[in-house]
Symmetry: C2
Subunit: 223 residues, 2 copies
Amino acid sequence: MAADDKPLRADAERNRRRLLDAAESLFCERGLEVGVGEIAQRAGVGRGTLFRNFPSKEHLIAAIVVERMSGAIVRGRALLEDGNPETALFEFLEEIVGRQQRDRALFDAVADTFLANPEIRAAHAEVVGVLDGLLERAQQAGAVRGDVSAMDVLMLIKGACQAATAFEHIDPGVTDRQLDLVRAALAAHTTTQPLRGRAPTLSDIEHAFPPAVPSDPVETATA
Amino acid sequence: MAADDKPLRADAERNRRRLLDAAESLFCERGLEVGVGEIAQRAGVGRGTLFRNFPSKEHLIAAIVVERMSGAIVRGRALLEDGNPETALFEFLEEIVGRQQRDRALFDAVADTFLANPEIRAAHAEVVGVLDGLLERAQQAGAVRGDVSAMDVLMLIKGACQAATAFEHIDPGVTDRQLDLVRAALAAHTTTQPLRGRAPTLSDIEHAFPPAVPSDPVETATA
DNA sequence: ACCTGAACACCGTTCAAGT
DNA sequence: ACCTGAACACCGTTCAAGT
């Protein structure tokens, strides 16, 4: 619901793209603290145009993150089609983790924006959906233990993501190494005791963030 | 090296403590974006006093993080004394992860500050040291696989940390669950293929951040 | 030596005026 | 409809004046 409702005027659409491209490359180069002024300048538009397209700088960041995530989703769907059940899951995990490496702090912002931004929540839900498909196939093939959920796995690869963003340029291979450890944790033939608690699910998150207000905090009338 | 060099005047020392306490509780309550003005006010001092004690807001945050980390270090040392080799390691991991839960975004800031702040690097090195001791004992007891390093483990628990900060209040038990998965990854009796790459070590980090300049970027002469 | 708060610089956001 | 850039608000940081 929402997103591409009104077809936008031609030049407006073009400006929006330019802003996204400019922001993406600037964020990649120098991190999230680049000013909106510089972004607008690089895009060849005024500052006001940026805020016409995106309600705030955070929304701009969120839009880029969403684009990145949908890239991963496409890859994941392809793996669901052809990939072999036993390995496709881990190829998808590598895909996700690999994206962290390219965009530095971009994904760090997700943790915060997560809470508020509905578009990111939607993209996240799709990632979990694809991951769930890949996971179930791997489980039915007997390659992965049956008592874990997609969100279990998503949390598990956080360490690999950190390795990718912070240490890959120092020690190439840490990321693969972390993923190997994740593999070991998910191996089906473990004689380890069963996991405590219940498998976390998407609705746990949805439940925590009700539709909510359009983000503007209600102003308290000053006596 | 550094830290408590000069014994500080009595009132100055007291102001420093008040600032740390005020900042700690305010950060806990409303996150890192609380203004320095409000922190100084809560501490009962002027804004200037804050910047006399801490070169920047980030340094203030770092100082709090360091205090928290040394709390964990104390606990870890105690576990090295008496705790039994097979379980002490995981008790320490629970200790670390538990701290994330209490302080919300406080530890998120570490990932960034990490790079620059030497005091945090020092505290971090101590954590790795203690963890290394606990890990080695567990390995010699045959409870944990022998091919992992302390930093391997530190990265692995990142997922558990995220669970602790973001999901524990929704689904109590996720953190324990994640730690169980870490346990499975570290189990000695895995028949999994060996890990790729080499075990990451502390000197990998040290090597990446040379003593460095006092943080002020050299100004480029104009024209 | 240390404290204070007014002043400064910077950056995200808005909005009246333009096309 | 959309674009623009000057103006605004906010916040981290500095510094001259005080004790």
